[in-house]
Symmetry: C2
Subunit: 341 residues, 2 copies
Amino acid sequence: MTMQQRATLEDVARLAGVSSKTVSRVFTHRELVAAETVERVLTASKRLRFRPNPLARGLRRGGATNTVGFIIGELSNPFYYKVAAGIERELALSGLSLVVATTDDSPEGEERVAEALLGQRIGALLLIPVADDQSYLEGERHLGTPVITIDRPARNLVADSLVLANHRGVFDATTRLLARGHRRIGYVCNPASVYTQAERLRGYRDALAAYGITDSARWERLADDLSVPAERLVADLLEGPDAPTALITGNNRITIGALRVLRGRPDEGSIALVGFDDFDTADVLGVTVVSYDPVELGRSAARLTIERTRDPAGFTRQLELPTWVVERGSGERAPDERTSV
Amino acid sequence: MTMQQRATLEDVARLAGVSSKTVSRVFTHRELVAAETVERVLTASKRLRFRPNPLARGLRRGGATNTVGFIIGELSNPFYYKVAAGIERELALSGLSLVVATTDDSPEGEERVAEALLGQRIGALLLIPVADDQSYLEGERHLGTPVITIDRPARNLVADSLVLANHRGVFDATTRLLARGHRRIGYVCNPASVYTQAERLRGYRDALAAYGITDSARWERLADDLSVPAERLVADLLEGPDAPTALITGNNRITIGALRVLRGRPDEGSIALVGFDDFDTADVLGVTVVSYDPVELGRSAARLTIERTRDPAGFTRQLELPTWVVERGSGERAPDERTSV
DNA sequence: GGCCACGATGTCAACGCTGTCTAAGTCTGT
DNA sequence: ACAGACTTAGACAGCGTTGACATCGTGGCC
């Protein structure tokens, strides 16, 4: 196979019998070139398969690349990839492309990966913060690179952010369970110390407090070590005389873990369950969830990014995306008389 | 907020009291610079937050960017993203980054998006072909951009490809059902005309043929229009006196559709079911599937890409990734005596 | 008829970096 | 003390493109 050389403006210019500048103009300010010349240049370009070199163009124009970086924990997690998909869709409408980089949800990975992306002169940086501190991005922000965080606010960094109505969603879900008569409501999550989970937990506690229940700690099973399986936390909660009649799970991993545990138990059909995050087969399994639109989360983040690119010095904004309860049965069970007080 | 100017080699050189070439050397061939000079340059770089401009570097070095493009069909399918995750992981090990672009599974989208990515001078192009013809990439291949197709071979284009052992997986699954006594085995898929589905269907037919069954068309429900819901195809198959005792579904969308249909039926527990593609809650639902490792598919594709980049003119390769049956109960049911012949 | 405005094209330099070549300094061995 | 080798650093050009500015011809207008 013979490797050809890539054609440049100069090559096209020679073939079309014009100067390279004219060819350049055809590809940028076509209206300044006579129609007949445009025609000739385009024919020549097609023949040589010419494509403007974005490196040279970017260098000359002195700007960043038209790529946006997205730092993501784990691309195979449905939440993350749906967000990524939304971002990509929205960026594509503005002719931008998306570079994804994963960190395996590790704080050290975040900074390392951010450095790598910034080294590529991305036009903006989107990230789902994992580390406790994003101040390492401060310098870059001053150089004009917009930074937008998704799902969690940045810490020690002024940045736009887009989060879910975590508190509201869990508050509503808990209130519904209370309204159906549940009083012993369990809450399981892992990891518990991240922003989203802290907000959800607050929603749960606030709802209980509104019903005068302040000792919910008994029914909370919070872990931080991801190696602790969701199954163990749920199983532990369901043991003992004080077992809850309803269960709220902080994310879809825990929800699925809870389903595994409940599956083998005699009280499977009697414990109410509401999970945070929707998932593909939740309807088949009849699981009530606090839902939201992850694709829309990505799209909104992308829109925010584009706005910020146009006005780098404007006021930063913190937006919240709605969540809602989707009733599918598991959350609408009344407390089991045999076990309730 | 004051926008700062980005530092260049020249700025660093001035501050460190050396020439810009020396600074350049520090960032590329450090071993050619005296240790003490390196020290001074690095201090100056850090102070000015200098980062080499990849555009200028890329332009000068005359190569492509260190980005690999991946064209992905639609956003809601986990398969694509698991593959993307594998690609990203593997590329990161070699310091490459991944740009993703989606096409909505439309053939026209594929070419348009490919053009957009190639315009960015990506170092290689990975894609899951949707269009019937990839000859539009022929020119680019001659310019040295490696093209690797995943899941399906390219058509009218010489390119490396990586596919699943589709035939083998379905052949095995069907054979197992036959061995358990099933003789009326249904096969549902949509879309049916794509390569992967054609291969799977072949696996199904070949297995039946080995048992002397050649009139399987009666139990095949193949559609090509994605707007035909999987539920309808499955429901249609299960009606009538000739209803199958076992069911094979061509992909996870159909499998989940089948579960929805079966859920409400009296014979729910008696019809054997084997789905192609694993999915998150398949274990909870006890669904037997033909499984494979999509992340590994991505990783292998990335490795192939890297090898091809090193040896652009070498022989193209077609690799196949294994598939296997995961037994979870639904596929191990014997034919129901009441309905079997 | 001379002047200006305007459209269409060209010339030149520079974006930031690195390969090639050269120069200056340092160290051997005789 | 000096040629030769080796180390270290700088000068220069050019990667492909585009902004600033120049040029040239045409036509309209006083």
